[in-house]
């Protein structure tokens, strides 16, 4: 066990204890605001001023802040392109068509539907990001189950679990991956090659857990008559997504930023919607979630201030060094715990600078932890969960005991074999 120490920045204006407490206060305020959302204002409304205060007060040097923004800007651009791509796939009817295909394939049989939902949610999450699965696919899956006379519960739960577990494969699948991808120095294809086995293993483990956990709901079916006309195949959206994926591989082969391929795909679909007057320019901008992008940049700067001011030393002692199997397991476990306490986005921002010096293996182990871990708490983190319980927002119905029991089975069952698979992949690939 050895900690990874970062050189202390020399250009700070504040002395260390003051800078340390200021940056921690700022980070806590930013996260609390993001969870509580006073007056319904966007998360960026506090995060951006907080980042400005951190820089102005000297808690983070201007060159460090600039370096952080320069490092994050391409990541944020990549994310924006993927969000636009997914949004216009929905406009083209891709998700509705997917629902109809799974319904036809499942023929009213719950276990077949679960298998189809697993395949679909894993593919959508991997290619179009977890936001697409949570926001766009979940209602479609519910409607598909209800329409075919199958109990929707296991299938909706599968969507929420897979939006986390199946977001391991590609850098675009999850914002956490994009952040780690930028920090790891891996190429797009190598990232995918290393994560393919852990991705498959984690999804397989979830599938086994779901089949057993929901055996009762999966045994009942009353096939509904006729599933209606199959909707038209959204050929254009499918071809665009396929070409974008091929673009990722080509770009990384020729050393070009794969974000450009995502941008091209997004522009093609958005441009088509604009030409056909199915969207406005404002709609395209909103599909890129600009407030979210600003929040990610600002959060990055504030977290960097905290890491520079001593968190690196503190967590450096907790994190195991090296890339042996036990070290990877320990790293993934710490990441999973941290993600459950404070959401996986700040968790990955904190852990990346600490693990990046140990090489891509440790960074990918962090990703396994922060991506699979949040299935333990159903609102993504304990912080969000507690707040939602306090204000009784929407949650009268969720059986917390049941969801946690499922998480306690699924998270270790997916995480441990996935780490072992990563360890193996690091030796083979």
């Amino acid at each position: 066990m050895c900690g990874h120490r970062r050189p202390r920045p020399e250009d700070r204006a504040l002395n260390t204890p003051l800078a340390e407490s200021l940056s921690v206060v700022l980070l806590v305020a930013v996260l609390a605001w993001a969870v509580v959302r006073p007056f319904g204002w966007p998360e960026a409304a506090l995060a951006v001023p907080a980042a400005a205060v951190a820089v102005a007060a000297g808690a983070i040097g201007t060159d460090h802040a600039r370096a952080e923004v320069v490092r994050l800007a391409p990541v944020v651009g990549f994310l924006a392109a993927v969000l636009v791509l997914a949004h216009f796939c929905d406009v083209e009817g891709l998700f509705r068509a997917c629902g109809a295909w799974t319904a036809r394939w499942a023929r009213g049989r719950p276990v077949r539907l679960l298998t189809a939902v697993f395949a679909l949610a894993s593919a959508i999450t991997a290619v179009l990001s977890l936001d697409a699965t949570v926001v766009l696919l979940t209602p479609v899956v519910f409607a598909t189950a209800a329409r075919t006379g199958v109990r929707p519960k296991p299938h909706v739960y599968a969507c929420t679990h897979l939006s986390n577990t199946a977001s391991l494969l590609l850098p675009v699948s999850n914002l956490t991956n994009l952040l780690a991808f930028a920090a790891s120095g891996l190429s797009f294809t190598r990232f995918a090659a290393l994560m393919a086995l852990p991705w498959l293993v984690a999804i397989g483990a979830e599938y086994v857990v779901f089949r057993r956990f929901f055996a009762r709901d999966l045994a009942a079916s009353a096939p509904a008559p006729g599933t209606g006309e199959p909707p038209a195949m959204p050929v254009f959206a499918l071809i665009t997504v396929g070409c974008t994926l091929a673009g990722f591989v080509l770009a990384s082969t020729f050393g070009v930023e794969p974000a450009w391929a995502a941008l091209a795909g997004a522009l093609v679909l958005a441009g088509r919607a604009l030409v056909r007057r199915e969207a406005t320019a404002l709609g395209v901008v909103r599909a890129a979630a600009p407030a979210f992008l600003a929040f990610v940049l600002a959060l990055g700067v504030v977290v960097r201030a905290v890491v520079d001011n001593g968190l690196a030393d503190a967590l450096g002692h907790v994190l195991p060094g090296g890339t042996g199997l036990l070290a990877l397991l320990g790293t993934a476990a710490v990441a999973a715990v941290l993600a459950n306490l404070i959401n996986n986005l700040p968790a990955v921002l904190v852990l990346l600078p600490l693990t990046a010096p140990a090489g891509p293996g440790a960074v990918l182990a962090v990703l396994l932890g922060v991506n699979i871990g949040p299935n333990l708490t159903y609102a993504g983190s304990l912080a969000t969960l507690l707040w939602r319980r306090i204000v009784h927002q929407h949650d009268h119905g969720v059986d917390l005991k049941e969801f946690t029991r499922l998480g306690l089975l699924a998270v270790p069952a997916a995480l441990v074999p996935a780490v072992v698979a990563l360890w193996g992949a690091l030796r083979i690939v």
Binding site: P139, G149, A219
Partner: protein
């Protein structure tokens, strides 16, 4: 006489058929469906877990990335419950009252059965191994706490006597002590 049939996705046709077969012609029939609040709740939670996305608060309907999937799931659930009740009424083929509730399923069922003379429900457990587990927790709760007689039906044909387990071996020292 007031008969309540608790209809659940996947097993409801058996309950409707049982009402047709066993409820008197002049009975007042209520078809009950309870939408579990946990399914929209989980979708709400997954949405809330996406930190920093600038979602709108409360019930203001957003669009695009601000559209809460939990709200959509709740709306879809209402629509599909209405369809299920309509299909059940058509299968029943006699006058009946549809009743839609939302919340903790087993508690809503028991509450709705308060003034009933008969509650009809279907087994929802593991029916491959017959025994205590052929009743799931919700049906178990309703059977235990229903304030009226209960008619428990098989979702499919009832098993025949060949599925009986072999009798326990005779005790060497006379009959076993009472439990």
């Amino acid at each position: 006489m007031r008969v309540i049939a608790w209809l659940v996705e996947g097993t409801w046709p058996a309950c409707v058929d049982a009402v047709r077969a066993h409820a008197p012609e002049d009975a007042e029939v209520v078809l009950l469906h309870v939408s579990a609040a946990d399914v929209p709740g989980v979708a709400h939670g997954a949405f809330a877990g996406l930190l920093g996305r600038g979602h709108r608060r409360g019930h203001a309907p957003g669009d695009g990335w601000e559209r809460d999937p939990g709200d959509q799931v709740a709306d879809l659930g209402d629509a599909s419950a209405a369809e299920l009740l309509a299909a059940a009424a058509a299968r029943l083929g006699r006058p009946c009252t549809p009743l839609e509730r939302a919340g903790r399923v087993e508690r809503e069922v028991v509450k709705a059965a308060d003034d009933a003379d008969l509650l009809v429900l279907a087994r929802d457990g593991d029916r491959d191994r017959l025994g205590p587990r052929s009743l799931g927790p919700a049906v178990r709760f309703a059977v235990d706490h229903a304030p009226c007689p209960v008619l428990l039906v098989w979702p499919e044909a009832a098993p025949d006597l060949t599925t009986l387990p072999p009798p326990p071996p005779p005790h060497p020292h006379g009959p076993p002590p009472p439990p």
